[in-house]
């Protein structure tokens, strides 16, 4: 593999990569020059060049379809190919959101039934599919909580409680929705500290954001108690559903006392992550919050599906009806697996995580020695103490073993965290390979720390200079920039 020049370093003035009709029916007066732009300095490349460029770039990526990708909290499970075939059917791909409703009954049916299925799975009463991702789901849910309190004249509630183990989007969301955040320190077993909670509760508390299982991969054993305490204080419970893969089919967040939650279709329901998105973050809620959902949602009237606006809606968070392409995939997935299949998903996700835990806890420090759920958080603390090799080094060295590293340095409450989520779509053989690699690396850390510290050794590029990237940001190409010496040819030449 060789360095790939930027697309801006390719092409030739006047070259054409498109095939378009001629400008025709051209009797309109030309636009007044005052409206017109100056030239556009996009590259001029042929289709052949574009294909090659992106095929070559793609090969520089690691992905689920190339190997094991145990990124904790991200649920990198296999993305079934049938979903992609379904999603490009013209009846899904080429319909407009504003078409007359009689011409989009198939789409509305899928959305309606997906709402229903997600309500069943989450144990909630109502669902909106509008949010574009988990973080937007959080924003939506917290705004709904705010609207609920306001609707009751309870407008002094300006605080949201968030455990210190929470994902960054939770605190960021509280700010985005205009709340103050109180961070709750976790207890010694990684769970919510009930005393800390009790002392944080007040009539200023609008609600609490909680992830179950939490970001340590641990179930919250006092969840019913927690919900009760928050409810008693007049607050509502927001569930971060990013970890639903641990529960699906066996445990419903609604039964745990949550009033509203988001669901990441791109995690549990395996819509592809796309190198950073699109996601889809439907929000499910109990009856009391349903009137505040963003609209429209899909309702059924006789044998027709219609779009309706919730009575006291918070308004819209996104154009149109959400990331429909992802709805189709998630719907397809649920119809494929059925309940038994989904139960098997969460069971195998949990077995796989515990299998890793059981087989690595003698090698890496296990901060919370409990049966975990769909992911396990280990720490390289012990290795660091003994050898100076840190979690980052372990992660980079794992790349040499042909695997993607776990999530690192998150959750923040675990020093040198290695957050490992294998998902249910990985085989025991793959886990065994991972476990043995992790053990090898621990050994290498002792025997040859420099080698580990300078990993990866097998990739095209070594570690990248993130510090100067941030200090002097180069965020776009300019034709005045120096071209890369290393053209592909020179690169491929043996030294």
């Amino acid at each position: 593999m060789s360095l790939e020049p930027l697309i801006f370093e390719k092409g030739c003035p006047g070259r054409v990569g498109f095939s378009l009709p001629q400008v025709d029916m051209d009797e309109a007066p030309p636009l007044d020059p005052k409206y017109l732009r100056e030239g556009l300095d996009w590259p001029e490349v042929a289709e052949n060049e574009v294909m090659r460029h992106f095929v070559r770039l793609s090969q520089k990526n690691y992905s689920i379809d190339t190997g094991f990708y145990p990124l904790g909290s991200c649920t990198m499970k296999y993305n079934p190919k049938v979903h992609e075939d379904v999603a490009i059917m013209p009846g899904w791909a080429h319909i407009h959101p504003y078409q007359p409703q009689e011409s989009i009954q198939g789409a509305l049916q899928v959305q309606y039934e997906l709402q229903e299925m997600l309500a069943e799975i989450s144990g909630m009463d109502a669902v909106t599919l509008q949010p574009a991702a988990g973080a937007q789901g959080e924003f939506t849910g917290i705004l709904m909580i705010r609207a609920y309190h306001r609707s009751r004249g309870d407008s002094a509630r300006d605080v949201i409680l968030v455990p210190d183990s929470a994902h960054g989007t939770n605190p960021a969301t509280t700010a985005e929705a205009g709340f103050k955040m109180i961070s709750l320190k976790s207890g010694p077993d990684g769970s919510v500290d009930l005393d800390a909670l009790a002392s944080a509760l007040s009539e200023r508390v609008a609600g609490m954001m909680l992830t179950v299982p939490n970001t340590l991969g641990l179930f919250e054993p006092n969840i019913l108690k927690i919900s009760e305490m928050v409810h008693k204080a007049g607050g509502l419970m927001y569930g971060d559903g990013a970890n639903l893969n641990a529960l699906v089919g066996h445990i419903r967040p609604g039964d745990l006392g949550f009033d509203v939650m988001h669901i990441n279709l791109h995690k549990t329901f395996t819509t592809p992550h796309g190198g950073g998105g699109p996601g889809s973050g439907p929000v499910a809620c109990r009856e009391l919050l349903a009137p505040f959902m963003p609209g429209p949602v899909v309702a059924r009237e006789g044998d027709k599906y219609v779009l309706v606006e919730p009575a006291q809606t918070i308004g819209r968070v996104k154009n149109f009806w959400g990331n429909f392409g992802m709805h189709v995939r998630a719907y397809t997935y649920i119809r494929h697996l059925g309940l038994a299949g989904l139960q098997r998903v969460s069971e195998d996700a949990i077995i796989n995580a515990n299998y890793i835990r059981a087989n690595l806890q003698d090698t890496y420090f296990l901060p919370y020695n409990r049966v975990c759920m769909h992911e396990v958080v280990l720490s390289a603390r012990n290795i660091k103490q003994e050898t100076g090799i840190r979690t980052l080094d372990v992660a980079k060295r794992l790349i040499d073993y042909g695997m993607h590293p776990p999530t690192v340095y998150f959750p923040l409450i675990v020093e040198e965290a290695l957050m490992i989520e294998p998902t249910e779509t990985e085989s025991k053989e793959t886990l065994d390979t991972f476990i043995s690699a992790m053990k090898d690396i621990a050994r290498e850390a002792h025997e040859d720390p420099d080698m580990v510290h300078s990993a990866p050794h097998t990739t095209e590029l070594g570690r990248l200079d993130e510090v100067s990237a941030a200090r002097e940001p180069n965020l776009r190409w300019r034709s005045t920039q120096p071209r890369e010496e290393a053209a592909p040819v020179a690169e491929a030449r043996a030294s």
């Binding site: 498109f18 574009v50 960054g168 985005e176 699109p278 963003p294 308004g315 180069n474």
Partner: protein, 442 residues
């Protein structure tokens, strides 16, 4: 179980290795009352049954490959070269996560860097991010950003902006306690703007497809200490003056038109670009060029201290997952089109929409409402309710325009129909529409 590879024997073996005897033991920390409630889901389907069922459902929709469509209003039936889908369906792109490990993600990282550059070139702005959810939420974030920069709590938006953009803006503004004021962007003097206005937002072309003269607007807005945010249609920038040329501070666009199918409204891709000086106040992900330990060119995510995973409640936004794959599609589209291609598309849209408008204007009872020049959309006054028209047209294989009767964007006027013409609308399709309209008259 096609996606859970472990056999029953392997599961048992693994449970034993964990020190448990049954699957049930995995749930030992879960109160028994919470386990296994009744959950009603449809029975599973095998893959062939599933495909047949999904095809059947999909064909209950009237799609744009089998019907002539004249709907626009923020979602457009533009042409996407086949190469775009072939690129975005590369496994290594669409089954990867956000490129957190740069050594394993140079493909996506370089592509984001190229996307950022292409968006800058398109808009004439200095920096662009790796995408937002869509134009509407990007606009919401832009207003929040302007408010943070100016430390002012009011934003002005032109009434002829897309109604959903306005609605989403209000939601985001509300979160931050920002007040949204609708007023025409036709600002003659900077003194027309109060001194607590954070930004002025205009959409170009506006919701009715009209191209407005925005020369000099930025100067007045800036003189009032406010920022100018322009919401653009990327296809229109094949012809029109860029936000950069208009000295906008933030440019927001809906990337869908750049080779992404309409798919009932999403996923799309919010384009977000700004001036260099506001770079560190931007929301969203950014890729930057850097070097590896051996001095080779490479790419990383950068300026992450703006983001939620580092900065938590102090982040510029809570966005995490964005619209990476859609931005990839747009990247491929922009490369394939090149400057000449985009210009061609824009010109065809302009010419064909004017052709249709001229023909419709010739029909008795119809009147063009949008002021000239318009780009690819125009509003029409119709003799009968557009919704009824649309119902009739559907039976002729025509998906008509949007009924915007009585909306504030048309000042409450009745019987107004917003039509859109793209390079995919052929003369034959327009003839079909026109003869249907004539038919109704009779």
């Amino acid at each position: 179980m096609v996606y859970t590879p472990n056999t029953e024997a392997q599961r048992q073996e693994m449970l034993a290795s964990i020190g448990l005897t049954s699957v049930h033991d995995l749930y030992q920390e879960v109160p028994a009352s919470l386990l296994d409630p009744q959950i009603k889901l449809p029975p599973p389907l095998s893959e062939p049954e599933l495909v047949a069922e999904m095809r059947r459902l999909s064909e209950r929709n009237a799609d744009a490959t089998h019907n002539a469509i004249f709907l626009g209003a923020g979602s457009y039936n533009h042409f996407s070269p086949s190469a775009v889908y072939r690129i975005m369906s590369r496994s290594e792109f669409y089954t990867a996560y956000t490129p957190y490990q740069p050594e394993l993600s140079q493909g996506t990282l370089q592509q984001i860097y190229e996307f950022q550059t292409l968006v800058c070139q398109l808009t004439g702005m200095d920096v662009a991010n790796a995408s937002m959810y869509d134009a509407a939420s990007a606009l919401g974030e832009a207003a929040v950003m302007a408010s943070a920069i100016t430390r002012r709590k009011k934003v002005v938006i032109s009434p002829k902006t897309h109604p959903e953009h306005k609605a989403v803006l209000r939601t985001y503004a509300d979160g931050h306690g920002i007040e949204v004021i609708e007023r025409d962007a036709n600002i003659k003097e900077s003194s027309e703007l109060a001194d607590d206005i954070a930004c002025v937002i205009v959409q170009q072309p506006n919701f009715l497809g009209e191209i407005r003269d925005l020369d000099g607007l930025a100067e007045k807005v800036h003189a009032a200490g406010a920022m100018l945010i322009i919401v653009f249609d990327p296809i229109s920038l094949g012809l029109l003056k860029t936000p950069g040329e208009l000295d906008a501070d933030i440019a927001i666009g809906e990337g869908q038109g750049l080779g992404v199918p309409m798919q009932f409204g999403g996923p799309y891709c919010g384009l977000f670009a700004t001036k260099e000086k506001y770079m560190r106040q931007m929301p969203g992900r950014l890729a930057g060029m850097t070097k590896d330990v051996n001095g080779k060119r490479g790419y990383v995510l950068t300026l992450q201290t703006r983001e939620q995973h580092i900065r938590r409640e102090k982040a510029t936004s809570n966005i995490c997952t964005n619209e990476g794959l859609i931005a990839l599609a747009a990247t491929a589209y922009m490369c394939l089109m090149g400057p000449q291609g985009l210009k061609r598309v824009a010109e065809i849209c302009y010419q064909r929409s004017h052709y249709l408008a001229k023909c419709i204007a010739g029909l008795p009872g119809y009147k063009i409402v949008s002021r000239e020049p318009f780009f690819k959309e125009f509003a029409v006054q119709t003799p009968i309710s557009p919704t009824e028209l649309n119902r009739y047209l559907l039976r002729q294989g025509v998906i008509g325009g949007l009924d915007i009767s009585r909306r504030p964007e048309v000042e409450g006027e009745d019987n107004v129909w917003l039509l859109c013409v793209t390079e995919l609308n052929t003369k034959e399709q327009m003839d079909r529409l026109l003869s249907a309209l004539e038919g109704i008259g009779k």
